[in-house]
Amino acid sequence: MVEEKIICIGCPLGCETTLKIDDQGEVVKIIGYKCKEGQQYVLEEYRSPVRVFTATVLTENSSRSLLPVRTNRPILKTKLMEAARALVSTRAKPPVRVGQIILANLLNTGTNVVATDDLFD
């Protein structure tokens, strides 16, 4: 039986949890979480840590240099740098509305990169 400490980052409380893991690598007990979502979060974090990816993309035909974007769902933590590289050649052209898809199916994850701000000029 091993123990792993994971800080839940589902919300800013940052509860410190301890996972007890058996010899097959299965989580048998979690202690320290303060909410149901947190319990779920920590389990996921152990099995397959994911993160919402936020960044900017360059624009074209715009008076603003950049458009802020995000993935609409979290992606694997291990893919973050790759995601950053994937956006290098992406360009946002006005008009863009918040939520509009800027790049579909990022790195074949099924997640889209969407605008987090309007870009009207």
Partner: protein
């Protein structure tokens, strides 16, 4: 735009200003005017491209621009008047407001009430007195954030960050994702200055070296930053001889503290709390100057934008009420004094007729404490950290327990005694 009949004037349109304006309008103020110095509503939210905003306020994990967007839409829908690229240069104690912009030129306004929502500025290198030279390449983290996330410019490619406040950690991640190498985040305390979640998702995730109990002792480079010297510090935060090392870098970011921006407040004769750097306010967020209210980071630095908006709503509602010439019922005044291991508390004074939320920050990290307010509130906490604000819910019935002659309550962290 009719400038002669302003019920509530709000200075700043960040998460505080917009929330205050919306609430003021919803509480019946007819003419609400926002004065914003930047080119769009939202204040600093636009440069905060990361998520973590609105988890509590909207129940959703939003980015800064998305959070701003929600509020900005409501501002427009409600017909709140907005003056952009307008700088308020003066406020007098009788609420005369002077502002200037390119279209209207100098403006002189006399609103019925004012909400101060100017937010904060960052502690600079000059204030920190970091020894060494004065080359190009030294930025506060927020200024660097503006360059990276709005202007499309990256300060440098080998970065050292002094201070592990939230902005510093966020920028460590941001710069890494833009291809720079963050060689170290240097923190003088034995724990990070910001939220633990940021330590995980900004530093641990990217294996960015975090040097706790260290500080930058010298900046090198004449034209541009070439390196910094760092050293371990003792418990008095003084560098320990012999522990110096040099880290080659071309950029130094500073994330060493936010200071509420209260120059206008001072001009208006608003009394400031030296512990927070912001106005002394009561639970209505009214300052000592009648008709001037304040909310958000201008009062005290928050961790969560959600709290900024909630607090500003109190200020907005109070301002609207004041503008209607409705008296804000304040039956008594109980001053809250910070006691053991409490750095500051807001509001600094409460009356006993409503429920109230107190916001407090501790001075030092501590484990197993009892957070107490006089004898009327006690809560056990496993750990308290300066980087994470404490919230105390006090009901009006708890407050009414206090005898009439009691004018002060101490909020403190008591060490817990174990029973066996």
């Amino acid at each position: 735009m009719n400038f002669s009949e302003i019920d509530v004037a709000i200075i700043g349109s960040g998460p505080a200003g917009m929330a205050a304006a919306i609430k003021a309008k919803e509480e019946g103020a007819e003419h609400v005017l926002i004065l914003e110095r930047q080119e769009q509503l939202g204040g600093l939210l636009h440069q905060c491209v990361h998520n973590g905003f609105g988890l509590f306020y909207f129940g959703q994990d939003l980015t800064g621009p998305e959070y701003a967007h929600r509020f900005a839409e409501k501002v427009r829908d409600l017909g709140i008047e907005v003056l952009l690229e307008t700088m308020v240069t003066q406020i007098s104690p009788d609420r005369k407001l002077t502002a200037v912009n390119s279209r209207e030129g100098p403006l002189h306004l006399l609103p019925k009430s004012i909400v101060l929502a100017m937010g904060c500025r960052e502690r600079s290198r000059g204030q920190l007195n970091v020894p060494g030279t004065r080359p190009a390449g030294i930025f506060t983290a927020g200024t660097a954030q503006r360059f990276v996330n709005v202007e499309g410019l990256i300060p440098g490619k080998r970065v050292v960050i002094l201070g592990s406040g939230d902005i510093g950690m966020i920028m460590a991640r941001r710069l890494t994702l833009e291809g720079a190498e963050v060689r170290a985040v240097v923190e003088i305390l034995p724990y990070v200055g910001g939220l633990t979640r940021n330590e995980v998702q900004c530093l641990h995730d990217f294996h960015t070296p975090l040097l706790l109990e260290h500080t930058v002792t010298e900046i090198h480079g004449e034209q541009r930053v070439e390196a910094v010297s760092i050293a371990k510090v003792d418990k008095d935060k003084r560098p320990i001889n012999g522990t110096e090392q040099m880290i080659a870098c071309d950029t130094l970011l500073l994330s060493v503290g936010l200071i509420p921006e209260n120059e206008l407040s001072r001009m208006a004769g608003v009394e400031l709390d030296p512990l927070t750097g912001g106005p002394i306010v009561d639970q209505f967020r009214e300052t000592n100057v009648s008709g001037i209210f304040a909310g958000g980071n201008v009062v005290h630095v928050h961790d969560l934008v959600d709290d900024v908006s909630w607090e500003a709503e109190i200020a907005g509602a109070s301002a609207a009420q004041f503008a209607r010439k409705e008296k804000l019922e304040k039956r008594r005044r109980i001053i809250l004094k910070p006691g053991r291991n409490i750095r500051c508390v807001v509001p600094q004074a409460v009356s006993a007729q409503n429920d109230v939320i107190l916001y407090a920050r501790v001075k030092d990290m501590e484990e197993n404490v009892q957070l107490k307010v006089g004898d009327i509130f006690a809560q056990s906490l496993r750990v308290v950290k300066p980087g994470e604000m404490l919230k105390v819910n006090l009901s009006h019935s708890q407050l009414s327990q206090l005898k009439e002659d009691i004018v002060e309550q101490i909020i403190e962290c008591e060490r817990r005694r174990y029973d066996g």
